[in-house]
């Protein structure tokens, strides 16, 4: 029965292809580690992980939520202690949180901006009437630190109507670099990553909680990987990107 033979041939082929597809999905999981990194680490996370795993970037808050929902991450690198505490408090930690580096917050503008030279307290007054200032949304660490600082210096009320919320600091950087807003608040490391923006001023680090890049291992493999990031080569990568790296 040639007809029957043909049908089963096709069925067998489909089965083989399906098995191959499934196998390729599975092997992806086993290939290496998965690192969830805050958006501010977009450029360095790949270098730190090297060939040992894959990196997913996003707002620390969003990543923390995904981990709480059971996302398969081995290491969580957050831009704030808060979200590390949330994850660890929910019982996902496989080791102690480890401060990997420190960061600073800066106010940036496009390279040709008329705001260059403005003093921290004068920003609101120096902005043109319909100017916009990009900021990471509330809940996102960068957004929280900046609001904390502006509140402490008394500038928040004057700036509030100008603020344009972005999903994460990279969104802020893109809006400033694209000329869509007049200024924006990002990490110093973000400002260094783009040649289309200049730093107007740094936010006084005493006006907000310390910006610490905190790593938290979520699996045993994660613990091993995280340990290597305190070694000299990893510290060099971080320092080169503009992070503050203390002495071990």
């Amino acid at each position: 029965m040639a007809r029957h033979g043909t049908t089963s041939d096709i069925a067998r082929q489909i089965a083989v292809w399906a098995a191959l597809l499934l196998a390729s999905c599975g092997s992806g999981d086993e290939d290496g580690l998965v690192v969830y990194a805050a958006a501010s680490l977009t450029d360095v996370a790949e270098k730190l992980v090297g060939g040992e795993g894959r990196v997913a970037v996003g707002a620390s808050s969003a990543l923390a939520r995904q981990i709480l929902e059971g996302a398969p991450a081995d290491v969580f690198v957050s831009a704030s202690n808060h979200w590390v505490d949330v994850v660890a408090g929910a019982g996902w930690a496989a080791g102690e949180p480890r401060v990997l580096a420190r960061n600073r917050l800066v106010c940036i503008a496009a390279t040709d901006s008329a705001l260059v030279g403005v003093l921290p307290g004068d920003l609101a007054a120096a902005l043109p009437p319909d100017a916009r200032v990009a900021i990471a949304d509330e809940g996102v660490p960068a957004g929280e630190y900046v609001r904390q600082s502006l509140a402490a210096t008394g500038d928040l009320a004057a700036l509030r109507p100008r603020l344009v919320g972005q999903a994460d600091v990279r969104g802020v950087l893109a809006a400033v670099a694209g000329g869509h807003v007049d200024a924006g608040f990002v990490y110093r490391t973000d400002a260094l990553a783009s040649d289309r923006v200049v730093v107007l001023f740094e936010l006084d680090p005493t006006t907000h909680a310390p910006v610490e890049i905190v790593g938290l291992a979520l699996t045993a493999e994660g613990v091993e990987l995280l340990a290597t990031w305190s070694a000299v080569p990893a510290r060099a990568i971080l320092r080169e990107a503009g992070f503050g790296v203390g002495h071990p």
């Binding site: 808050s61 939520r65 319909d130 344009v164 869509h180």
Partner: protein, 228 residues
């Protein structure tokens, strides 16, 4: 619900209503054109109109920002006219949601017009009614249920729009913070589950009501076809 949340819901409804108001006339004309135009060029127009339906909304938002941002001549012309910037404004929300919802409106109108017997239009012309009079007296009334379905779908789509809006309008309290943006922002904050739940329930209820409206319109259309 807190006052801030009520404000968010009202803003969402206002933007969705504005989306319908600004897109209904061009949407009906485009849908009619695509249904009745014989030229092969209509496929190009149809492709352009349908594009936002298949593009990732963030890409649509990016394209819009690059086209309407304050650096562009369109953005500058808008500033000349209104004295305000289009990006990151309520208007930007309307534009983003209108563009993303436009294909739904146009496709609905196109299908409704295709369902109108073209011979009725021919008879109308022979009775002395011109092209536009025929459109207003025959085609539009007979396609009306489809037009309303399209309007309701565009309204519902505007209520749920996030991606293109986030890029073109971002999250500005009182101006662009609609339900999806508010929910996204609240998800970033710890301990906001109750607020998230309230907004999500509102969002689901409004969208479901809109879809019920669309379903009612299509029942109306079918009944009308059947009666012919």
């Amino acid at each position: 619900m807190t006052n801030a949340e009520i404000g968010v819901v009202l803003l969402s409804l206002r933007i969705a209503a504005l989306v319908v108001v600004v897109s209904i006339v061009p949407g009906v004309l485009t849908g009619w054109l695509l249904a009745r135009w014989r030229s092969p060029l209509r496929f190009v127009v149809q492709g352009v109109v349908m594009l936002p339906l298949v593009l990732p909304p963030i890409v649509t938002g990016y394209v819009l920002l690059e086209a309407l941002g304050r650096q562009t001549w369109l953005g500058r012309a808008w500033h000349e006219l209104t004295g305000t910037h289009l990006s990151y404004s309520t208007t930007a929300c309307v534009v983003a949601a209108a563009v993303v919802g436009f294909p739904l409106l146009v496709e609905s109108v196109r299908l409704a017009v295709l369902g109108v017997d073209e011979r009725l239009e021919v008879v109308s012309r022979s009775l002395g009614r011109g092209r536009s009079s025929t459109f207003l007296r025959v085609t539009l009334p007979l396609a009306l249920p489809g037009v309303l379905t399209g309007a309701v779908l565009a309204f519902a789509r505007a209520l749920g729009e996030y991606g293109a809006t986030m890029v073109l309008a971002a999250n500005v309290e009182g101006q662009t913070r609609q339900i999806p943006l508010a929910v996204a922002a609240l998800l970033n904050k710890p301990g906001q589950d109750a607020a998230v739940t309230r907004l999500v329930v509102m969002s689901v209820a409004l969208s479901f009501a809109a879809l019920l409206g669309a379903a009612a319109c299509s029942v109306w259309q079918r009944r009308r076809r059947g009666a012919r």
